[in-house]
């Protein structure tokens, strides 16, 4: 059996001081990391392989430029067997904003790898499209389930017993036919930290770079129908009273405010 896990390198902005230009947040204020949701997807894949006595190969795929290899090494260190990195000069931010482009590229990778199961995150924490997994399933023409917080794979029955986390503490119990794409919700498992041994092994694992030609994807398949017209820091609608000063002073103000609200214990 083969599991394909999609792993995105996401950007986070520095805490307080950052500046936005026309195209978005200035590069110097960005830090990069593995998407939180993908940590859980990776763990689902790797722990499933372990339960099956490693009769399962886990392959990761990332669409991104060379700098994403740092993140890909982290994924490999957590036990993924090998990685694919898709990139091409024809790709840019506008193309990756159009989910059809991402789905076309990932579908081409799936075509090459023929996975039984594809695991993605529910959403990327930076752009938050929340769309790639389901768009990929529809492109591959296979089954799917979005926002899974429990997954039990029955390879013999070619079925996944999943739970979808709905609003307000309700779950949908769903059976999905394999092959399938599942979008994984946080909290489904306990993502491991990479061990020192894992980090060493990751150095020797393969990261296969693939371009459009390798994937037989035509540049005309790369849609870019969404464009960012402007980026801004939202105007604050805040009417909050902010207490200022050293911690002992702000704590005094807070305590007084809480007493005024009548909520202190005494």
């Amino acid at each position: 059996m083969k599991v394909l896990v999609t792993a995105k390198q996401v950007a986070t902005v520095d805490d307080d001081d950052f500046e936005v230009g026309v195209d978005g947040v200035d590069e110097q204020f960005l830090e990069y990391d593995l998407n939180e949701w993908d940590e859980y997807a990776v763990e689902s894949g790797v722990s499933f392989a372990e339960e099956c006595d490693d009769d399962v190969e886990v392959v990761s795929v990332t669409i991104g430029p060379e700098q994403t290899e740092e993140t890909i090494r982290m994924v490999l260190a957590k036990g993924v067997d090998r990685a694919i990195r898709v990139w091409d000069d024809a790709l840019d931010e506008d193309a990756l904003r159009d989910v059809e482009t991402k789905a076309a590229l990932l579908e081409a990778v799936a075509e090459r790898e023929s996975p039984d199961l594809v695991l993605t995150g529910v959403q990327a924490s930076d752009d938050g499209l929340g769309a790639t997994g389901v768009a990929l399933a529809a492109t591959m023409d296979v089954a799917w389930a979005a926002v899974a917080n429990d997954v039990e794979i029955d390879a013999d029955a070619e079925t996944v017993h999943a739970r979808r986390e709905l609003e307000g503490g309700l779950e949908e119990v769903t059976d999905v036919a394999l092959p399938a794409v599942l979008t994984i919700q946080t909290g489904i498992n306990e993502p491991r930290y990479a061990s020192l041994r894992g980090i060493r092994q990751a150095q020797r694992k393969e990261i296969l770079p693939l371009g459009l030609d390798d994937l037989d994807v035509d540049a005309t398949q790369l849609k870019r129908r969404l464009s960012v017209k402007s980026t801004r820091v939202p105007e604050t609608t805040s009417t909050a009273t902010l207490f200022e000063g050293e911690a002992d002073e702000t704590a005094t103000d807070l305590a007084e405010m809480l007493r005024d609200e009548g909520v202190t214990a005494e």
Binding site: V13, D15, D16, F18, V20, G24, R97, E100, Q123, S125, G128, L129, A131, V134, A138, V142, A143, A145, A146, V147, R163, L166, E167, G168, G169, L170, E172, V173, D175, V176, A177, T183, T186, G187, E190, R225, L226, S227, V228, K229, S230, T231, R232, T236, S238, T239, A240, L242, F243, E244, A247, T250, A251, D253, L254, A255, L258, V263, T264, A265
Partner: protein, 318 residues
């Protein structure tokens, strides 16, 4: 031909709030286009749903009487066929958990551009222009669509619900659902177990987020709660990490709480969290990041390190 088509959402015999919010969004958009608004409702008690959706500004309602609860394969087929029949310029879908489960598939099947999780949708005379958030709400982007038609999903809570009655015509739409292409079997619902405390009953909640960093540091939060005779609740990451049980999670997938006072300690104020606590009487935030969205809804705030402020506060209350 229509201008805007909205797909309603329901669960366990009730229309969900987002359906009425989508009607508002759809009507605004249709007005800007000088056009018509169609609404579709699929599965369940479609007739009574149609009655409830007959709101001011809705021109036509299409009912698809097939099955009871949401199944994404059924929805994807029905919406795609409706889209072919109605031919809207903009298809508006909810960015709810079920929206996440079918909206991208509909866009893919229709070959249309998809803009997800928008907080504002407008027509600028030539095309669709939306507003989306990035980096957990710290940045807003205005995203335009360069195409003749689009699929747009709207964030729950972004628009006020429509509530004035109207006189829409109701038409039954005969969708042909190919059962071979229904690859998921929805077996039912289950309620997540409650846990040891009922945070919805508390008058005062001390709520802790990822800013707490470590499980051991939770003692600090429990000490503060004790000093305030309050109950401890949390944002999702603290529950995901297994430090507190699921019954204490506030938010979209946890509990909706309306205490007199809600102290958000080291919580950024992500939309899914705010969905569960915006109804609190008084909101107090302690966060090192002055740009954290939690300050937009807070009544009182301190921009500082919780590890400095909270111990001081406990001492002063003690």
């Amino acid at each position: 031909m229509s201008d805007v088509l909205v797909v309603a959402e329901h669960r366990q015999d009730s229309l969900r709030d987002v359906s009425f919010e989508l009607v508002t969004a759809g009507r605004n958009l249709a007005d800007e286009m000088d056009g018509t608004l169609d609404v579709a409702v699929i599965s369940g008690a479609v007739e009574s749903f149609a009655e409830a959706l007959s709101l001011d500004g809705v021109d036509r309602i299409h009912t698809v009487d097939y099955g009871d609860e949401f199944n994404h394969d059924v929805y994807t087929q029905a919406v795609t066929q409706l889209h072919d029949a109605v031919d809207p310029t903009v298809l508006l879908l909810p960015n709810s958990v079920n929206g996440l489960d079918y909206a991208p598939a509909v866009a893919t099947r229709l070959g249309l551009p998809y803009v997800s999780d928008t907080v504002d949708v407008e027509w600028d005379g030539e095309g669709v222009v939306t507003v989306r958030e990035q980096f957990g709400g710290k940045v807003e982007t205005v995203v335009g669509v360069d195409d003749d038609a689009a699929v747009v999903s709207v964030r729950p809570g972004a628009y006020a619900p429509a509530d004035t009655d109207g006189t829409a015509s109701v038409v039954a739409f005969d969708a042909e659902i190919e059962t071979d292409a229904v690859l998921t079997d929805v077996r039912g619902f289950e309620e997540v177990a409650g846990g040891d405390v009922d945070i919805t009953e508390a008058d005062v909640l001390v709520s802790v987020g990822r800013g707490i960093e470590d499980e051991e540091n939770l003692d600090l939060i429990f000490d503060l709660a004790e000093a305030l005779d309050a109950t401890v609740s949390a944002s999702r990451p603290v529950v995901d990490d297994g430090w507190l049980d699921k019954g204490r999670q506030v938010g979209q997938s946890g509990k909706v709480v309306t205490p007199d006072v809600y102290l958000a300690i080291g919580i950024s104020g992500a939309v899914q969290h705010v969905a569960g606590m915006k109804g609190a009487e008084t909101i107090v935030a302690v966060n090192t990041d002055p740009n954290a969205p939690i300050f937009d809804i807070a009544d009182y705030g301190v921009v500082d390190d919780l590890f400095d402020v909270v111990p001081e506060l406990i001492e002063q209350l003690g």
